[in-house]
C-alpha cells in the first residue's frame, strides 16, 4: 500500500465501540504506571539512604566500601566477557 493511499480511517478510533474492554485495558496501563512510579520512588529513597550511610562512615570504612564495590564490578564484567581463545 502506497503512502498516499494510506487513510486515517484505516484505523478505527470509534470510542463507542467496546467501552468496557477499553476501560479494562486502561486499568492495566494505569497500574503499570503506578508500579513504575513506586519503583522509582523506592530507588530514589534507597539511593538517598546509601548516601547518608556513606557520609557517616570513617575514612577506612569508606575505602573498604569502594574497594568491595570495585572488586564486585570487575568480577561481574569478567563473567560476561568471552574467554580469549
Amino acid at each position: 500500500q502506497a503512502l498516499d493511499e494510506m487513510e486515517p480511517s484505516d484505523v478505527d478510533t470509534d470510542d463507542e465501540l467496546d467501552d468496557s474492554i477499553e476501560f479494562d485495558n486502561w486499568k492495566s496501563r494505569e497500574l503499570e504506571r503506578l508500579k513504575a512510579d513506586r519503583i522509582q520512588r523506592e530507588l530514589l529513597f534507597r539511593e538517598r539512604e546509601e548516601q547518608e550511610r556513606l557520609r557517616a562512615m570513617t575514612e577506612e570504612e569508606r575505602d573498604a566500601y569502594h574497594a568491595a564495590r570495585l572488586a564486585k564490578k570487575e568480577a561481574d564484567e569478567g563473567k560476561d566477557r568471552p574467554k580469549m581463545a
Binding site: 503512502l3 494510506m6 486515517p8 496501563r29 497500574l31 504506571r33 519503583i39
Partner: protein, 213 residues
C-alpha cells in the same frame, strides 16, 4: 516572513520558541504544502479549527521525511505563542481529542515543570482512542493516556526533544506539587499489595547486581 516567530513572542528557556523544535525537523514542516496553505498567518482562534480537523498525531513519516499536520500545528503554536489560558482551553477540550493532544504537547514544550504535571496528569484518565502516524507512514492505534504518559516519561517524542522536567518525586519533596491520586485507587482494593510486590520484585533484581545485597 511566514516562517518567522511573532516579534512579540517571549523567548522560552532563553531562546526563540521555534528552536524547541530542531532545525532539521522545522525545515520539514516549512516544506509541507499543509504548512504553506493552511498555516499561513493563522491566529490562535483559526488554529483551533485546524486542530479540530486533525485525524492523527505523530512526528516525521515516510521516505521523504514528511512532517505530520500535528507537527505543523505545533510549530505554528510555537510561532504565535498563544496565551496560557488559550492553551489550557485546548487541553480541557473534551469534544476533540486531537485539540487536547495538541495543547498537551505544546504545554509540555513550553510549560513550567509544575504546570506540566498539574495539567497533563489529569489526561492520564482519558482512555479514548487516537491514531499515531508511525515512521513508515502507517497509522497505529494508541490512546490519549498513552500519549500523555509518553510526554511525561520520554526524552523525545514525535521527533521533538522534550525539555527536561524534574521527576515528580523531586517536585513533591520541594513542596511544589501535591502527590498524585490515581483514579484507579478508589477502584481496586488490593492495589497496595500488588504495588508493593511489584516494587519488591524490581528492587530484588537490582539488588542481585549490587554489592551489599
Amino acid at each position: 516572513m511566514a516562517n518567522a516567530t511573532d516579534p512579540l513572542a517571549k523567548s522560552v528557556r532563553g531562546t526563540d520558541p521555534q528552536n524547541l523544535m530542531e532545525r532539521i525537523t522545522r525545515d520539514k514542516v516549512y516544506a509541507m504544502t499543509y504548512w504553506k496553505e493552511k498555516c499561513f498567518g493563522v491566529s490562535a482562534e483559526a488554529l483551533v479549527d485546524l486542530a479540530v480537523d486533525l485525524r492523527s498525531v505523530g512526528g516525521i513519516y515516510g521516505g521523504n521525511n514528511r512532517a505530520t499536520e500535528f507537527l505543523c500545528l505545533t510549530l505554528k503554536l510555537l510561532q504565535i505563542q498563544p496565551e496560557k489560558e488559550i492553551v489550557l482551553e485546548f487541553i480541557k477540550n473534551e469534544d476533540h481529542k486531537y485539540v487536547r493532544l495538541l495543547g498537551a504537547f505544546y504545554l509540555r514544550l513550553v510549560g513550567k515543570p509544575t504546570d506540566v504535571y498539574r495539567y497533563l496528569e489529569p489526561l492520564l484518565n482519558d482512555y479514548r482512542k487516537v491514531r499515531y502516524r508511525t515512521r513508515d507512514g502507517k497509522y497505529a492505534l494508541t490512546h490519549v493516556d498513552e500519549f500523555v504518559n509518553n510526554l511525561l516519561t520520554k526524552d523525545m517524542f514525535c521527533d521533538v526533544t522534550l525539555p527536561r522536567v524534574p521527576h515528580r518525586q523531586v517536585l513533591e519533596a520541594a513542596g511544589a506539587l501535591e502527590p498524585r491520586v490515581s483514579a484507579l485507587e478508589e477502584d481496586i482494593a488490593d492495589l497496595e499489595e500488588e504495588l508493593e510486590s511489584a516494587v519488591e520484585e524490581a528492587i530484588g533484581q537490582r539488588m542481585n547486581m549490587d554489592v551489599d545485597a
